[in-house]
Symmetry: C2
Subunit: 598 residues, 2 copies
């Protein structure tokens, strides 16, 4: 069986480029070493191949169903896999030792998780959401909330969700109508309907911890009135076990094109199906302060956005590896110009167009993986930097990069999956092979955790303008440093450095020009195009970084990196040119289009 | 229910642009008029909505299965729909009256078929293949073969297939191993295995007429030794009904990501399961002359390639229309800069990024439909031109455009389907809505009837160089004529004309430069990039043609056409620039990549 990721590539990115071993000099990671990191990666690869990859197709073919009694039925392999994952302590990997964690760097924890995401996207989503939920509570919850909810989640006895969207309000959180009314005992009763809740119900764990956005009486209009609540499926019992059933009810499961193994649910809160404490209404517990719910949720959301990027990367990566394997063993046709039609067919990797499809995939998935790990490294910097200024810088840079880390892999690692199908020809279109599932699974990623369009608005409308453009400037200084190092190397690196420098300077100029008139409607008319151009530029930066890291090293692996960098700079980065021309022109086509003309 | 295509757009393309009514002055179409064309289109729309669209989702959810006795089970709605289609005489639409046809122009017949393709891609494939099969036999078959096979196919009593690929030879027909051995009675016995045969078995009709490529003893190596045979599932009986069972056996059904309603089969010919005439071996009848099979098959293949383009267009089109409907009724969010967060949400079509996604879809599907119908008009010209030179010109132009008419919709109308999902947000990812199925169905089209890579090799390696570049020159003269007309209009049209002219001249120069050294390996290294740049240029030409056709006309419909043309020229055509730069640079990245470096 093909490994779902390349350990060699991870080693390169983690050790030869990002130098995660240097993190062990920080107090938080002092107990760690390259050996412990390797052990976690080895364990993850092993568990992912043994327990996750093995039921990926089965979970797709046998999606969860809702039983007449309202519970969820799914194939048993999911629970077996997740129990093994939890037993290995991986849910708590990056958490404090004080709550039972390993205090792994986020960079290593993300790399470890990527094995599971590549092996089985839908089963990996349960711990993925649980970790993000627990992270939020560890940051903003009370000691009691941490004891009651975070610990059982980190042990894998309970899982977590995030409940934001409602049927009438997907991207528009200002319009949520779920209400939370305070009770005399300090708790709240929550009433409303939440849509698209992944992992929203199942029998995998004893309990499910929902983090729910709701409005309290007297809150302001729009997003300002939103607060955040813990609403467990079962109220915590006296002994720390799941107790009385809360008034949270599974209304239905969504049936999706892909990602079928993850239950995706419509949940009713407080519809009276259950009567905790003798009355209807879902019992909820406020997290932090009232009306600050959205800011807390964005802590989880930003983490989830990077995580969705990783999910897209992992799916792109495994598709790349399987199509590479296929191209190596499948024989068909002869080299162009072969004189003898009776000569034996060659492996299809010998055909230039097949190599093009493989190089494109390689440049997408390895470029995106570099960005995902780079962003994770920024999280570690934020958490453990020696001085506050360095930590703040990491946070600022992460803020700017998050919409790219989410959207770019969602677009281009999906494209990689399409190419993986294409390399397989007709076989790739059948369910006998794996790649069509990756393509279906990956199509979710431009939608959830903020659609592609939302990421564009976030980047151009907020991230590059905030703090007077400080984030944009910071990213510019990082890119400039890379450009300077590359120029000093000469050869291809210098040419790429020049190209990147030129494109980046255009982005800076265009950003200023778009906002010069102070007209947000005009500035944001092509924000998705801006997002895509910005994204390709960031990935070009990641490729220049990787190219620099191969300097002076020889062997197939490094030659492959160099060729992928060359592919990205010759075939991909130039695509940014027309996008920047469009933005620079202040194009108003989308604004001038009257809906009645369609 | 939304119409699956726009009749208004078809009327514009057929009557206001391509002037198909002018064809009625030709002898072959003298019995026709705008009224008869309208009647066929109305009937097709009606049948497509009533019998095809209604089981599209059901056919996807309940794909055909193979019973223990080796026969195929499928939902009954497929047969009901196809019986209605056949009863309306539509299989024979474009055929000679002498064989029971209506002698419709191909342009009208293709437009009529597009309704069925948009309503239900997989059910439409059965008559689609039957028509292509019958067309081949009507051209190259003997009178007896036409009576025995073409007539029952046109009546819908028998269906047809094309059997080219084998498990070890998909794109590489030189490597087929199916053998045909001549018998004393003039028939052949065929032995071999054919893969990916759409409609290869079913119980929809009394008989199935397979057109099979096979090699005869003594034939040359490679494709030169290939001959074409009729191999019916049941040998024709004395009374014209299906007679004795031939030795053709369904080995298995392929299970696909989409297009599930069309059986796609592995067929064994002559494996001894049946013993027609008392001995094993599938009885086949030679079509035309020995060793010319591939040239005959390309008659069918070229028609099928245009038809696959239409299938992709139709799927793109219906997805566009459904996402347009959704964007009009789904409310969410507020316009940028809206001050009052309590103001009611607006239909999402009010958001610029949603309009971008709709404009992109519109420019793709209407641009592609224009090309598909333009190519169909060339077929009519080939068939009925007043002088041979005009007919030959039409054939030459069609030869050059066929790889574009197949590949461009397969790529960009699939992208349209992705955008249709995106407009729907999370709902679009569920099977409760239609668009995810279109996306899955459409993903087949870059694969079958010659993959994307094969189309690129065909275009750059053969079509633009054949006859000393006569096809390329002819296309250039057509584009130049459009450019000249557009320039005379002034305004936007002049700017678009200049842009198109510039790009086209670059393509001509680059084509010459690529072949200047006579090194096919180097010339074809980026043939897929060439295909894509060429395709976008051709569609830009189609948009300029449409823009000219709106001249002097007012109203929403024409304003929409003008905006879609503007979208294509501002957002799409510029993408060609970097592709041409890459080609002009003689980039060798894909050639220099060593397989061991991946």
């Amino acid at each position: 069986m093909t490994d779902v990721l390349s350990r060699r590539d991870l080693d390169f990115l983690l050790y030869e480029w990002l130098d995660v071993v240097a993190l062990t000099s920080r107090k938080r990671f002092a107990e760690h070493s390259k050996d412990t990191f390797d052990a976690v990666l080895d364990l993850s690869a092993d568990l992912a191949h043994k327990h996750f990859a093995t039921h990926n197709k089965k979970a797709d073919a046998h999606e969860p169903t809702m039983r007449p009694d309202g519970t969820v039925e799914m194939i048993p392999e999911v629970k077996t896999a997740l129990d093994a994952y939890a037993a290995a302590g991986l849910i708590a990997g990056a958490f404090d030792e004080s709550v039972g964690g390993m205090q792994l760097p986020t960079t290593v924890a993300r790399a470890a998780m990527a094995w599971f995401q590549a092996a089985n996207a839908s089963t990996s989503s349960y711990p993925f959401l649980t970790i993000a939920n627990a992270n939020l509570l560890a940051e903003y919850g009370t000691e009691q909330q941490i004891d009651e909810y975070v610990r059982p989640m980190l042990e894998g006895r309970w899982f977590g969700t995030m409940c934001l969207s409602e049927p009438q309000a997907g991207s528009s959180l200002a319009d949520i109508t779920t209400r939370a009314v305070p009770q005399d005992d300090g708790s709240y009763r929550v009433t409303g309907t939440k849509m698209w809740i992944s992992g929203g119900d199942h029998e995998l764990t004893e309990n499910i911890v929902h983090l729910v956005l709701a409005k309290t009486p007297g809150g302001g209009p729009g997003v300002k009135g939103i607060s955040l609540f813990i609403v467990p499926k079962y109220l915590p019992g006296a002994d720390g076990a799941a107790g009385e059933r809360n008034d949270v009810t599974l209304v239905g499961l969504n049936h999706k094109m892909g990602n079928r193994g993850t239950t995706n649910t419509l949940l009713a809160f407080g519809d009276g199906t259950h009567t905790p404490g003798g009355k209807s209404g879902a019992v909820g517990f406020l997290v932090g302060e009232e009306h600050r719910g959205l800011s807390y949720m964005f802590h989880m959301m930003n983490e989830a956005r990077i995580g969705v990027g990783f999910l897209a990367i992992a799916l792109g990566y495994v598709g790349y590896r399987k199509s590479l394997d296929y191209a190596t063993v499948r024989t068909q046709g002869r080299p162009l110009g072969a004189k003898d039609p009776a000569s034996p067919p060659v492996p299809i990797i010998e055909h230039a167009d097949v190599r093009r499809m493989l190089l494109a995939q390689k440049s997408y998935v390895e470029g995106a993986l570099a960005l995902g790990l780079y962003c994770s490294r920024l999280v570690d910097e934020h958490d453990t930097a020696d001085d506050a200024a360095t930590g703040d810088q990491a946070t600022l840079l992460l803020d700017v990069l998050t919409p790219i880390a989410k959207s770019w892999p969602s677009q281009w690692c999906l494209e990689a999956n399409s190419l993986a199908i294409q390399v397989h020809g007709g076989y790739g279109y059948t369910r006998d092979y794996d790649v069509e599932q990756y393509y279906r699974d990956n199509r979710l990623n431009p939608i959830h955790e903020g659609t592609h369009g939302i990421q564009g608005l976030d980047l151009l409308g907020r991230k590059v303008t905030m703090h007077d453009g400080a984030g944009l400037s910071l990213l510019g200084s990082k890119i400039a440093a890379t450009v300077a190092r590359a120029r000093s190397l000469g050869g291809d690196a210098t040419g790429y450095a020049d190209a990147l420098d030129t494109v980046w300077n255009r982005i800076v100029d265009i950003t200023a020009a778009l906002w010069a008139a102070g007209d947000a409607v005009a500035a944001l008319a092509n924000s998705s195009v801006y997002l895509e151009a910005f994204g390709h530029t960031v990935i070009a930066w990641m490729w220049l970084e990787q190219l620099i890291a191969t300097e002076g090293k020889s062997g197939d692996f490094y030659d492959g990196k160099r060729m992928a960098a060359r592919y990205f700079y010759t075939h991909e980065l130039p695509k940014v040119g027309p996008q920047l021309d469009l933005l620079a022109s202040g194009d108003r086509t989308t604004l001038d289009m009257n809906p009645s003309w369609f």
